[in-house]
């Protein structure tokens, strides 16, 4: 049995920042990361980050991961293990994990759940053909493993992921035939959209996939226009010869462990799915469990990093190891989050977060 003061689940932007913030308190921190590399989505994000300097704006995602890892590696009280999947949370306070192929039990005093999100899928005829991918999967293949999965691709979804991955497909030499977006407006940043358009990639709003076709694997994708009730309009079909269809229709928080642990949950569409109730300290309905990043509600990596820091500070405070300036630092996190959420999509997210907020946020201890 492993005993640790703080268990951080996930070494993505939120988990790394939580571990850095909590690690500074001197408490023992164990970060478990299911992938073989830390950094989560950061390592495959070849684009520059938005935000401000505090969230490493204008730095590329993989470089941000290195910066955070350097900080962690300098702390002797923080231990990170990759190839380590947390398997379950039990009602006696134990957590189990598959750590480098070994089954382990962990008894932490506090937990920061920073498990991230899962790509949503879409059910359409042919959606199970080889060649139909989640856009994030394609990004991993290309940017992390150096595998080019496509020659001719259609992208479904013009949110930031759809737009960014389309651009990266172009950079990798893939012909991107079209980006289809079900809603009437482009959901991602317009600067990303503009980058694609001036490369000649059509973005078709109010369009979705009707069907994917192929014998052994994907050979063609048919798109069609949607009416204002999101129903396909017969006669508007356009078929592309394509070997790859990327589905980028959003993410849902990976919240299974929080469910298992017994956190109070609710469904908030604006946050991507089921999320835990949490107070302003990012503490869930269970006093020793904190949440940060996409697991708390799907947002950008910039806010995930700030949330990670906030959750790490709150966990340190719960463990009676708050830094002297905790109030200032927490307030700084809160004001950064308020800024990041005041923009383009921020309004919707803020409204969603309000639903999931435990209002009577008392002191941590």
């Amino acid at each position: 049995m492993i005993k640790t003061d703080l268990l951080v689940i996930g070494a993505g932007p939120a988990g790394l920042c939580a571990a850095v913030a909590a690690g500074e308190s001197g408490k023992d921190v164990l970060i478990l990361e299911r992938s073989h590399t830390p950094g989560g989505q950061l390592v495959k994000q070849t684009h520059m980050f938005f935000g401000s300097e505090k969230q490493h704006a204008a730095t590329r995602g993989f470089d941000i991961a290195s910066i955070l890892l350097d900080k962690l590696n300098a702390m002797s009280n923080v231990r990170m293990v990759t190839n380590a999947t947390v398997l379950a949370a039990y009602d006696d306070g134990l957590w189990t994990a598959d750590i480098l192929g070994k089954y382990e039990k962990i008894m932490p005093q506090a937990v920061v759940c920073a498990t991230g999100a899962n790509e949503k899928s879409l059910a359409f005829p042919g959606c199970d053909l080889p060649g139909v991918y989640g856009a994030g999967a394609v990004q991993t293949l290309m940017n992390q493993y150096g595998v080019l999965p496509a020659e001719r691709a259609v992208m479904l979804g013009a949110g930031n992921i759809g737009l960014i991955v389309s651009y990266q497909l172009l950079q990798a030499g893939v012909k991107v035939l079209a980006v289809a977006e079900g809603s009437a407006r482009i959901g991602g940043y317009l600067v990303h959209a503009a980058k694609l358009r001036r490369m000649g990639v059509p973005i078709m709003t109010a369009h979705t996939v009707k069907a994917a076709y192929g014998k052994e694997s994907l050979e063609a994708v048919t798109l069609w226009a949607l009416d204002d009730k999101w129903q396909g309009i017969p006669g508007t079909e356009i078929t592309y010869r394509a070997d790859t269809l990327c589905v980028a229709v959003g993410l849902s928080p990976l919240s299974e462990l929080l469910w298992q642990a017994g956190c109070k949950m609710l469904y908030v569409p604006a946050l991507g799915g089921h999320v835990p109730y949490r107070d302003d300290n990012l503490r869930t309905s269970l006093p020793h469990i904190f949440v940060a990043g996409d697991a708390a509600g799907v947002e950008e990596a910039s806010s995930a990093m700030v949330e990670g820091t906030l959750a790490g500070l709150s966990a340190a405070e719960y463990l009676n190891a708050a830094p002297a300036d905790i109030k200032e630092r927490k307030n700084d996190c809160l004001s950064q989050l308020a800024q990041l959420r005041s923009g383009h999509v921020g309004e919707r997210i803020s409204a969603g977060l309000e639903l999931a907020r435990i209002k009577e946020a008392a002191g941590i201890c």
Binding site: A88, Y90, T96, Y103, Q260
Partner: protein, 382 residues
């Protein structure tokens, strides 16, 4: 919802649905089943799904033989538009101590006398059935080919659909909040959706049976204990029979779907109706099952869950009318075997409630045995 009913059955598990079916089949009218969640949401849908006839008590043998023969014909008998997935791959009961061997010899003699074709087999014969069985600490085994595995959800559906076809009414997502009694007689059932007037209540609430009884002012000597099960990813057929060891306290079998389902009894499990998963179960289960069948170490555990064993003092079922409340019937205390006994439960309770001539040994399974001390101590349970 009905305002009145001749008979209200509390509990939409396999027992409640079977009782409902047999009651209507035998002429009862206006029968309602109340289920607080959905059909088989409780212990039925969580059970290990084994069906066996190898028991050490005559009445258990007779009840289970009746049930097993029913299951063999359940699809046609219940006119079910589906498959109950009855797979008679046999039960292989492993024997690891002399005393156990002696008991098993007695059991087999009893079973054979009742027409159950079980037999004692050598370890070599056992290895013909399960070639990779680790026989190190074993002496022999008992085997009966007609035992096996059945899909609990589909079986309950089959009973429920037949019940409805005969005019029965099932109210799911309807929780019983009270049982009203007047002058020692049942007068009605209160639910979160309204009240039903009735003179007859059948308590088939599984793990919650003692709580329902309390509502009627009836004390039942029952408690509910959490039992865990795990299931693996499906693989090609590797294991035909249910393998069971009383000394290791475990059972394990491969479902027709390919997954392995296994459970064991662990001491000091909570008795507070909790059905959360137990953190210590995976390693205890894995250790004992891979010790017995080493190749299973390559299987991958997919999920773990728990359900309630409704335990009676002698680990045999209770079929009774409450001595102090007329019209309040109970079928409970199955101690982990309610699913496999469900047809016998339906037949027995019907005979009891409708006053029919007993064809099954239920008259010995009443509450009075705890007064008289004529306990039904079943030697062969996990």
């Amino acid at each position: 919802m009905n305002k009145t009913a001749d008979i209200v059955i509390i509990g939409g598990g396999v027992s409640g649905c079977s009782i409902g079916y047999y009651l209507l089949k035998n002429g009862a009218k206006n029968v309602v089943i109340l289920e607080r969640d959905y059909l088989s949401a409780g212990a039925t849908g969580r059970c290990g799904a084994g069906i066996r006839q190898q028991w050490g008590l005559e009445l258990n043998c007779r009840m289970s033989k009746f049930s097993c023969e029913f299951f063999e014909n359940a699809v046609s008998e219940l006119e079910f538009d589906g498959d109950v997935e009855f797979h008679q791959g046999g039960y292989l009961l492993l024997i690891s101590a002399e005393a156990e061997l002696e008991q098993m010899k007695k059991n087999i003699a009893l079973q054979n006398s009742l027409g159950i074709a079980s037999r004692l087999i050598t370890l070599d014969e056992a290895k013909e059935i399960v070639p990779y069985l680790n026989t190190d600490n074993l002496l022999a085994a008992a085997f009966h080919q007609k035992d096996g595995h059945l899909n609990p959800f589909h079986t309950t559906q089959a009973f429920a659909e037949a019940f409805k076809r005969l005019g029965g009414v099932i109210e799911t997502r309807t929780a019983v909040t009270g049982v009203t009694v007047s002058n020692g007689r049942i007068t009605g059932v209160e639910t979160d959706k309204g009240t039903i007037q009735t003179g007859t209540v059948v308590n088939a609430a599984g793990g919650y049976a003692q709580g329902i009884a309390k509502m009627a002012g009836v004390e039942l000597p029952l408690y509910s204990e959490r039992h865990n099960i795990l299931v693996t990813e499906p693989v090609e057929p590797l294991l035909a029979p249910m393998v069971m060891s009383f000394s290791l306290n475990l059972y394990c079998q491969q479902s027709p779907h390919g997954s392995f389902v296994m459970g064991r009894t662990d001491d000091s499990q909570p008795r507070d109706l909790r059905v959360s998963a137990y953190s210590g179960f995976p390693e205890l289960m894995s250790r004992s099952v891979t010790g017995l069948m080493p190749p299973l170490k390559n299987l991958r555990m997919l999920r773990q869950w728990a359900g309630l064993y409704n335990m009676s003092p002698d680990k045999a079922a209770i079929y009774c009318e409450a001595p102090n409340v007329s019209g309040f019937y109970t079928a409970a205390g199955f101690s982990g075997h309610g699913f496999m006994m469900a047809p016998a439960t339906g037949q027995s309770m019907t005979e009891l409630i409708l006053g029919l001539t007993p064809t099954l040994p239920w008259p010995k399974m009443g509450l009075d045995r705890f007064e008289t001390g004529e306990l039904l101590l079943e030697p062969s349970v996990v």
